[in-house]
């Protein structure tokens, strides 16, 4: 079953003469439990695609289905509930730098309205799962970049979302920490969470244990190892032809 399905998605920023297409007719499908790697140079539209899945942006055309629910025209009041089912981590971590790791993770559980004891227990477990000390009282700003990204991953997973989006999660990390975070994402996937990792970094392309590789260029999907995009589009236009490519070992 596909946990994520995009069909003919088009999206532009700006309006009038400043209008610029960020995604053009993108169709793809990611199976439940997959480790999907979204490649493409800077400005290809990777972040835009992830923002669409989080309903931070709206597509102009096309449908986006997350866990079989069309979110392209989701009501504003329903967006928080979508985001509880879609974890996300970013290059800049987006943590409360003066709070401890546990306080950061707890925030994602408090929004669910869970009682304090529950929040605490689950925050500890989420931190232990990413191999961090749940009891540290040091604020997040005193941690290394790799540790901060682990806190972010723990927070994203604390609510047990169906899918984890990672937008350049290693962009601020050195090669050693990059490999550690990729390993962690691999084990997250093995524990059952679908992972969609977007990056332009060749090091990541090389080391990520991806089961599904997609490539974007100039807002168009130019490669898809599952080759499902072609089947989804009834009558593909010649310029949107998608080449199936191999999965790196």
């Amino acid at each position: 079953m596909a946990i994520l399905e995009l069909c003919g998605v088009t999206m532009s920023y700006g309006s009038g003469r400043a209008r610029k297409a960020a995604l053009a007719d993108v169709s793809l499908r990611i199976a439940e439990g997959a480790f999907a790697l979204l490649q493409g140079p800077s400005g290809a539209g990777k972040s835009t695609l992830l923002k669409l899945i989080l309903a931070m942006e709206r597509p102009e055309h096309g449908t986006i289905r997350v866990a079989d629910r069309d979110i392209a025209r989701l009501r504003k009041s329903s967006i928080p509930y979508l985001r509880r089912n879609v974890g996300a981590v970013f290059q800049d971590f987006k943590l409360l730098s003066d709070a401890t790791p546990r306080e950061n993770v707890a925030l994602a559980l408090q929004v669910l309205g869970l009682p304090r004891a529950h929040v605490d227990a689950r925050a500890r477990k989420a931190l232990a799962d990413v191999e961090l000390d749940p009891d540290t009282r040091r604020p997040v700003r005193c941690l290394s970049g790799g540790e901060q990204q682990r806190v972010a991953i723990a927070r994203a997973l604390a609510g047990e979302p169906a899918i984890l989006l990672a937008d350049e999660p290693t962009g601020n990390l050195d090669p050693r920490l990059t490999r550690e975070i990729l390993e962690l994402l691999g084990s997250v996937c093995q524990r059952g969470t679908t992972v969609l990792l977007a990056t332009h970094d060749p090091l990541v392309h090389e080391h990520a244990a991806a089961s599904h590789v997609l490539a974007l260029t100039d807002g168009r999907l130019v490669a898809d190892s599952e080759g499902l995009a072609r089947a989804l589009v009834a009558a593909p236009t010649p310029e949107s032809t998608v080449e199936p490519i191999g999965v790196p070992a």
Partner: protein, 300 residues
């Protein structure tokens, strides 16, 4: 505990934490709101007291007709009912000496003993004439002139100019009170709006994170609304307290200086329901101001 209640607890806790992090801002906002509300409270207090004094002084009785001592009750009521049919008169009422004495006793309030042993018969029978609102101001004078020629009439007192001025003063005070409420409302909204704007700016990272992890608009907005509500309600409470202190100080001085005006009773402070309305007004302004300040930032 259900989830909504648990969420409310988190919202209040985060609101309080936010306030504790910027205590000076809270104190300044509350003090400024208190000063504004104090102004409003003072105007309302003056208006209320002027109103009750005017009521006691019978400002609403423009013409009082005193009858001769030996008048027959039947003649008095005959004149009263004749007056009631005159165009421009809305009502006329005979006040027997006993009723006049009773009013005097009540009017003395704390010190009714002054009139012990006074016989009602020393007081004249009178007729109170009220005019329709539509009547012209010189109608009263014309009517008074006619009444003076009646044989059983001893004297006619037209409250006329004084009553009119008192009515005008009351109307003006009421308008000032309404104007003050509008101005103070606007000022308090602005104060809360700008303090909450600062708080939103200081905590913009937290807001972004809460939205990212699936916090509802109410969850994101809540702590700021708590902050606005507390500022408004505490500011107004402080104003009521200051007003009460000021009233205790100034009230007795004023009462001494105008002993005659207050002979019919003492100055009164705002009633408990009026105080609650004032505090509720402050709280509502706090909620409105904070909601407006945070509105744009809670949306996805």
């Amino acid at each position: 505990m259900n989830r909504a209640l648990t969420s409310l607890v988190y919202i209040i806790a985060r609101g309080v934490r936010g306030m504790v992090q910027a205590p000076l801002v809270q104190v300044l906002a509350m003090a400024t709101i208190a000063v504004c509300m104090l102004l409003l409270g003072t105007v309302v207090l003056v208006w209320q007291n002027a109103q009750s004094i005017a009521d006691r002084w019978g400002v609403d009785v423009p013409i009082t007709v005193y009858l001769v001592d030996e008048v027959e009750p039947a003649a008095a009521s005959e004149l009263a009912s004749r007056l009631a049919t005159v165009a421009g008169v809305s009502s006329s009422e005979t006040i027997a000496p006993e009723l006049a004495l009773q009013r005097l006793v009540e009017g003395l309030g704390d010190d009714p003993g002054l009139l012990d042993g006074v016989d009602a018969d020393v007081l004249p029978t009178s007729i109170e004439v009220r005019l329709a609102d539509s009547s012209a101001s010189d109608d009263a004078a014309v009517l008074a002139a006619q009444l003076r020629s009646e044989p059983i009439v001893e004297e006619v007192v037209v409250a006329g100019a004084w009553a009119e001025r008192a009515e005008q003063l009351l109307a003006t005070l009421r308008q000032v009170a309404i104007g003050a409420a509008a101005l103070v409302g606007f000022a308090c909204l602005t104060i809360v709006w700008s303090t909450i704007r600062l708080a939103v700016y200081a905590r913009r990272a937290e807001i972004q994170i809460l939205r990212l992890v699936g916090g509802t608009a109410a969850f994101v907005r809540g702590p700021f609304v708590v902050e606005g509500l507390v500022q408004g309600a505490l500011g107004a409470t402080l104003a009521v307290a200051l007003l009460w202190l000021g009233f205790a100080e100034v009230g007795s001085l004023v009462a001494d200086a105008f002993a005659l005006a207050f002979a019919a009773g003492s100055l009164r402070f705002l009633s408990p329901p009026e105080c609650i309305v004032l505090v509720g007004f402050g709280a509502a302004l706090g909620v409105l101001g904070s909601r407006a300040a945070v509105a744009r930032y809670v949306e996805a």
